[in-house]
Amino acid sequence: MQFRSILFADKEPELLTETPVFFHDLQLDYLLERILEPVKGYQTEKYYYTFPREEKLILFRQQVGKDMESEELCTVLRRFCHRLKESRKIYNYSLKSEGEMQAAAYHLQAASLYWEAVLELEKKLGGCSLESEGMLGLAGYVKQHLAELRERGFAAALKRADEFFSGLSFQLSVDTDKLMVEESVEFQKNYFEELAELLGQEPERTDTGIQDIFPEPLEPSYLEQVLVRLLKKSRPEVFREIKEFYKCFPVIYSDTLLRFEEEVQFYLSFQNFKLRTKAKGYSMTTPVISREQGFSGRGVYDIALVWKQEDSSYQVVANEFTMKNRPSFFVVTGPNQGGKTTFARSMGQAVYFTLMGLSVNAECFRTPLFQGISTHFEAEETLQSNSGKLKEEINRLIPMMAQNQNRCSFVILNELFTTATTHDAMIMGRKVMESFLRRECYGIYVTHIQELAEETEEIISLVAQLAPGEESRRTYRMLPMKAQGFGYSEALVKKFRLDYADIVRRLS
């Protein structure tokens, strides 16, 4: 199979260019900004907006992601992209140059950079131990591409022109009323090297050339034109060679590699993000996708909260949960500011990363293959009247429930119908859940309404915990228990360290 794409294997997907609706609710918009920081200059967002959908493709990406855990490979790829980008920049100058001679000279430089970049990529990939289908495909493709270029005589022509050109060196002397140019034959002293020595600086470590004299790449300065004119007179053959190459090889790039350069930013950015998250002391793991093993997670934390945390000594609380192998809903109740929404969000984030084929914000994560994510969070306070707000909520719910693609989706409902009476809200809430359950959705519902948490086969009640005996302190932990159960007696038990786990610890 011919290698085509490191993100979609042999598929040609339709890339979404608009932010998915659930992004903001899960604070993925914020995270994406952080993730994309190191790959500025590339349009990588669209890849984060588009789910690969097929399990096969998710696994394909997970494999590539595992290869990318090698720092060596990342360095190789980053360097390749960097050099390719350089080359493209120069190529662009060539396209925009007005003078033919200048265009030809830029073209030669771009080709030379490209050739070296690909050569190096081939060599360095050979040194990495690759296992994923994607990366192996790439390595094979690079070999094949180089062979083609050699066959077409690209390499030889390039070498000829390049050597000719770079072998030339000139001397220029300027005083107040004249300048002189000669081809440089003997070694000349470097004033700055001598100065570096005098100042006790290591010459190798200081820049002893003069940079950016005429920084404008497309406008040859007058002085440069004068120098080229002088040179043309003395060495016409050099200019012939450059033009020759320009005519014979107008196209230099492989479309596949250009596409790879764009797509691999997805992995590079995420790998960087993953390392930095781990450096903050949080784990990231490859999720397991399975229809049979239910929906469960351990050490699941809100990764946006982690990144927003300025005080690095604060540890964001992680939670665990288990759902049996059938579509169900968690209903989370408990005190205000107790971490319920954060918990729901952390679950949503993990599902999102799973569906993207990436590592997730957890120690351990198992999930069925969801077809999508739907979220419904309370809208920001607006000037709407209460009835307006309820209407707005229902208006947002309708498409969520109606969409066919929501079959077997993951659904997050956060505080629905707060402006309705409790009784009404309870009835509506129950209906909403039932409706999603009928579509084989899994979900989590954060609410103040205890009655909604009444357990059935499909409803699991979780309660945000307070610190034992300290009703003002939240622990941000969610435990499966009856919604009415949280409160005083339990706190007392905790305070005297008399619950099961504590007694076991105290006795051992």
Partner: protein, 508 residues
């Protein structure tokens, strides 16, 4: 490299640890009066003196190093004044330079003007360095201290003259010179890998008309600049780029200059303050003596005619002195009459210790004491509006933060600590603290009214404990002398009360 090192043999004050609570020390020992007297009206000097004095020297060698420098400068105070003038000029130049740079940035002025500002500063600094070297070299024979001799030697080892010549050459780039370059053509036929080969001052360049004719018709590789404005502009550009690179190369040197003068200014300010102060005390016939520092960890403290310097400065005469020998001084309790000079004595000891540990002469006929690694003052604070309850907690909190910072061989000066509670409680708190300090090799000197505490310890007489009592003659007169002896159960506060009663009586 280029280091001033007049305060320490092998470093500046950079990175040296100051006392943990300098503000407490300054306040409790009334050091502000001393700072003011040393610096006169000079704000720059006052700030530097304060900083240097609050960093304790912790070995006798360090103390002696400074004592030597002080002796040298005391003898040659004319040179010291000139050095201080250098430091002041350079301080001003630096401030100007920083302001220029700041306003250049704000106005986005042409690069050249920024470069010229840097060049100017460099030239000034370099001249000042040469001046310092000259000043020191002229009196070469007069220097006995390692500090000054070392500085002169380091300055003589630097190629100061050569560097100054390079700075002149840099200036010639603007005022006119011949410059030689080597370069290559890069992609797009732009100047690349340009290297400067030489700079020649303008004086040697000939502009005869015969030569121009020769260039025009014989040498094809030469171009006359003549009135070609575009070419002139580009060449200016080239010169500017050269200057930019040149100044860039000088950046680390410029940083070094700044650092040197920063350190030099601090050091010279300190010495200037000390010598100025000594001369002033001379004129008041107030004795100052170079103390004899003993190693950290030793315990003998002896002094003759030790008096309180701040009071002497304030009253412009020498107050009553104390002569005491505290062999194996580990814990000294001072009790006795109110208004008997206990606090003054404690302060005189503290001030002498601080002065010794910054290398200065001390207010005594003789002073021999160990150097301590840290000095803490815990004085009762003037009655503020706090309730006594709050005051005790403030005192305890202050003590607790001192204990956090304490290291072995610290000196604690306690003045009426824990007097804000009942004697019984206060004694108990203080006893715990004193015993712990004693155990952990801290040296303590405490002025106290806590009779129970003093009596208990006096009966016990732990090794290395001393008990001083403020002398009070039979008729109640205070001599302000401290004598070794048994703590008295009364502080004769009633004496004072009596005086008050008497005065009241008299008024009637």
């Amino acid at each position: 490299m280029m280091d001033s090192f007049l305060l320490y043999q092998d470093s500046s004050t950079e990175g040296k640890k100051s006392y943990a609570f300098p503000r407490d020390i300054i306040k409790d020992l009334n050091l502000d009066i001393l700072f003011k007297s040393m610096a006169r009206q000079d704000i720059l000097m006052a700030e530097k003196i304060r900083r240097v004095m609050m960093i304790p020297l912790t070995t006798p060698e360090e103390v002696l190093y400074r004592q030597e420098v002080i002796r040298d400068f005391y003898r040659q105070s004319g040179v010291l004044e000139e050095l201080y003038a250098c430091a002041e000029r350079q301080h001003k130049a630096l401030r100007l330079y920083k302001e220029e740079m700041k306003s250049n940035r704000a106005k986005s002025v042409k690069v050249t003007s920024t470069l010229l500002d840097s060049l100017n500063y460099l030239k000034q600094g370099q001249e000042e360095l040469l001046h310092i070297r000259k000043l020191l070299a002229e009196r070469q024979e007069g220097w006995q201290s390692q500090g000054i001799k070392g500085l002169l030697k380091r300055l003589e080892e630097q190629p100061l003259q050569k560097i100054q010549e390079k700075l002149w050459e840099a200036e010639a780039l603007i005022t006119g010179c011949e410059a030689g370059y080597t370069f290559q053509f890069g992609g797009g036929l732009k100047l690349e890998n340009a290297v400067l080969n030489y700079l020649r001052p303008a004086g040697d360049i000939k502009t005869g008309s015969l030569e121009s004719l020769y260039l025009k018709f014989v040498k094809k590789n030469a171009v006359l600049i003549g009135t070609d404005i575009m070419l002139k502009e580009d060449l200016n550009h080239l010169r500017e780029a050269t200057l930019k690179q040149l100044i860039n190369m000088f950046q680390p040197y410029l940083q070094k200059l700044m650092q040197f003068f920063g350190e030099f200014t601090e050091e010279i300010s300190f010495y200037m303050g000390v010598v100025q102060f000594m001369k002033r005390m001379d004129s008041l016939n107030v004795t100052l003596t170079m103390p004899e520092p003993k190693s950290c960890g030793t315990t003998d403290t002896e002094f003759e005619n030790l008096y309180e310097l701040s009071m002497a400065v304030y009253a412009q005469k020498k107050p009553v002195g104390n002569s005491i020998s505290l062999k194996n001084n580990r814990m000294t309790l001072i009790t006795g009459a109110n208004q008997g000079g206990k606090s003054t004595f404690l302060r005189s000891y503290g001030i002498a210790q601080v002065l010794m540990q910054c290398g200065m002469p001390v207010p005594a006929g003789r002073f021999s004491a160990p150097v301590y690694r840290q000095l803490f003052t815990h004085f009762t604070r003037s009655e503020d509006e706090q309730l006594s309850n709050g005051r005790l907690s403030e005192e305890l909190q202050r003590m607790s933060s001192m204990v956090d910072q304490a290291v072995p061989d610290s000196l604690f000066l306690l003045n009426e600590s824990f007097a804000s509670t009942t004697e019984k409680e206060g004694s108990k708190i203080a006893e715990g603290i004193l015993r712990a300090f004693y155990e952990k090799n801290m040296t303590t000197m405490m002025v106290t009214h806590l009779y129970q505490l003093a009596k208990k310890l006096y009966e016990e007489q732990p090794e290395g404990s001393h008990f001083l009592v403020a002398e009070r003659t039979e008729n109640g007169t205070r001599t302000f002398k401290m004598l070794q002896g048994e703590p008295a159960y009364t502080s004769f506060g009633t004496d004072l009360f009596k005086v008050l009663e008497e005065e009241e009586h008299n008024m009637k």
